[in-house]
Amino acid sequence: MTTTQRDYLVDWQRKCFDAGLVGADIPSEYGGGGHQGFQRIANQEMGRAGTPFMINIVGLNMAVPTILVHGTEEQKKKFIRPALRGDEIWCQGFSEPGAGSDMANQQTMAVPQGDGWVVNGHKVWTSLGHFAQWMILLARTSRDHKYDGLTYFLSPIEGHPGVTVRPLVKMTGESGFNEVLFEDAVIADALRLDDVGKGWTVAMTTLTYERGAAESAGGTSGERVPPIRQLIDLARKSFRNGVPAIEDPATRDAIVQRAIVAEGIRQNGRRARVPALCDHPMRLPLQSKVTGSEFSQDNAKLGVEIAGAHGTLYKLDRNAPDEGHWPLAYMNSYGHTIAAGTNEIQRNILGERVLGLAKSK
């Protein structure tokens, strides 16, 4: 993302906030709309209209809901409104080189000093880190307990002494995420979220929102507009054995399969709000991350296949169908099957929490 794009998106989020389309559910004393249930409607409408995404995705989906649950009054007053307005961009500092799926294996250390903490450590895969003013930071405050030794901080990033943000390049060649180094960075104790040693619990709140299992603060995802139409258009202009791909039975079957999955995702979302039709309250909500990310991945992969020889062409090629969208989307789709708890981890969670199977290591 270029800075021009960033500025555009920040401006867009501000307009949406002013129009009441962001933070609609958030209590008005913290700058939100104060109307429970309105956000879903706003998301639906924005999804339908195909609006740009909210740049402060981490702020809206993770920081704000977590601060609302665990923050002090002062923290809520300080952080929520600027996050909703896009005035302050957030990033998430959970992952480390040695702490991915095994998130509790945090090595970043926060050591008390005066009325603050001295932080040393290495965060990776930090989306938006290069634009962020703030980070939700998970750090270790005790080596004696794996889980209870963790504490959750709201850390300043941009221009903060001891914090270095370095860009990482994605497999697509685009810049995307970053690594963030903490070298004797000082964080005030007033920026600690909830109690010392409660970081794991707080992080679980964040993950519930991140994985879409609970309604968050802003129109980041909206309703998924199924890209079936795009696949059909592609199949019309692509060829298989000399005939339009849209006439190829295997291609037709594959596209209709995608349409059925799209319908399933849409109707799952609808059914999740009818308790009488759900056997277990988390059964559908916990599926949405897996089904959503695999839906996009399978669509993109099918698009590459339908494009055939043209599926080899990438962004710069003037003959690339849809400006190289399909291979680019296919590669980018792994971001979603890996991030926010890999889909393997999600399947563990579903198997254990919903089906009640024995916990895997």
Binding site: V256, G264, Q267, L277, R347, G356, A358
Partner: protein, 385 residues
């Protein structure tokens, strides 16, 4: 579990929930799986080697008739309960979950088709069904075509009688049904008529099927004479087309029910059976496929409720939604069946284990009225036009 005050979408309100919960309770009590096994699988040679008819519990059926289930889909004007599809699919899921051997599904499907006949002509038959008569569709040709209008039965008019000859194949629960709802060619017209199963000239030839929870037959029509009053429509193709979403949704609901039984039963097994010092479910090669079975079932169920809702609203999208539901339910059923046997290991391969009963019912339903690929072929014509 009363949901008053809770959101009621898909038209699934209190009445529908009550019906579903009642069906679940009734079948849990009346047909626990041990009883099902004793009923249909006491002797492995009876059906498969000696060719005996599959057994069913007629006493249980009487109770079901008394509960009014045959009349669920019959309009109130004809003396039925006029239940919405939203409610019926919930009940049928329970029927599938218990693999109930009965002519209930065939009766519901015959009702859906009769409802699309001429109201005056159909009313009396619908009333009989509401009174407890069982029925089935006899509309499929020997090639097994699911297309409306492909029939091997022809009709000729003789005074105020109709004479039918030919053969209807793949008739579901033919041996249990009292009324056959049959299509027959008469010149350019396709008739829809009701033939009592004891009519002279009918020849039932039982199919030897693998599913132990139903019967199926081909029925020869040898100059079967019925009064013209038994003709409920002279445009059967249209009637079938209108009824078809409901028919597909019924079979899809049965599939969702069997699949959920397979999931829960296999999960229970994976919790208790230990190997390598761990319950099977500890191993991700067991856990993750079970999660995928669940994901498949939930996709099918959500589309199923959507389709039922479209039918109740008279929505143009009902056929698309119903075909999507049948496709998703067939595929989910195939995967649930596959894993239910495999993850039970050796015992899953035996007659002694219950999973084969559901495997077979599911397989039958996956194929009935077209499997997933078939539905998608027809969907493609609509969606990719």
């Amino acid at each position: 579990m009363a949901s008053s005050g809770a959101p009621k979408d898909f038209g699934f309100g209190e009445d529908e929930e009550l019906l579903r919960d009642l069906a679940r309770k009734f079948l849990d009590e009346q047909l626990p799986v041990e009883k099902l096994r004793a009923l249909v699988a006491a002797d492995p040679e009876a059906v498969y080697e000696r060719g005996e008819p599959s057994t069913w519990d007629e006493g249980l059926w009487k109770q079901i008739v008394e509960l009014g289930w045959t009349g669920l889909a019959v309009p109130e004007t004809a003396g039925g309960a006029g239940f919405k599809a939203a409610g019926i699919v919930g009940l049928v899921e329970e029927v599938g979950r218990h693999a109930l051997p009965s002519p209930l599904i065939s009766t519901l499907n015959a009702t859906y088709v009769l409802r699309e006949g001429e109201p005056d002509a159909a009313a009396a038959w619908l009333a009989r069904i509401a009174d407890g008569a069982s029925a089935t569709l006899a509309i499929t040709d020997a090639r097994g075509s699911w297309a409306a209008g492909d029939t091997d039965v022809s009709a000729r008019e003789e005074g105020d009688a109709i004479v039918l000859s030919g053969r209807a194949s793949f008739v579901q629960d033919a041996q249990k049904a009292e009324l056959l709802v049959t299509t027959a060619r008469l010149g350019d017209a396709l008739l829809l008529c009701v033939v009592p199963s004891d009519a002279a000239g009918l020849e039932f030839e039982r199919d030897h099927i693998h599913d132990l929870t139903r019967d199926q037959a081909s029925i020869g029509f040898r100059e079967v004479r019925i009064p013209t009053a038994n003709v409920v429509s002279r445009d059967a193709a249209t009637a079938l087309e209108r009824a078809w979403p409901s028919v597909l949704v019924t079979v899809a609901a049965d599939l969702c029910g069997t699949s959920e039984w397979q999931l829960q039963t296999t999960v229970e097994y994976a919790k208790h059976r230990k190997q390598f010092d761990h319950p099977l479910g500890f191993f991700q090669a067991v856990k993750h496929p079970l999660v995928d079975v669940m994901i498949g079932i939930d996709r099918a169920r959500s589309i199923l409720y959507h389709a039922a809702c479209c039918i109740d609203e008279g929505n143009d999208g009902a056929e698309t939604a119903a075909r999507m539901a049948k496709s998703a339910a067939s595929d989910a059923g195939a995967y649930a069946s596959d894993r239910s046997v495999q993850l039970h290991g050796g015992i899953g391969f035996t007659w002694e284990c219950d999973v084969h009963l559901f495997f077979k019912r599911s397989l039958h339903n996956q194929l009935l009225y077209g499997d997933g690929t078939y539905q998608r072929q027809l969907l493609a014509e609509k969606l990719l036009a």
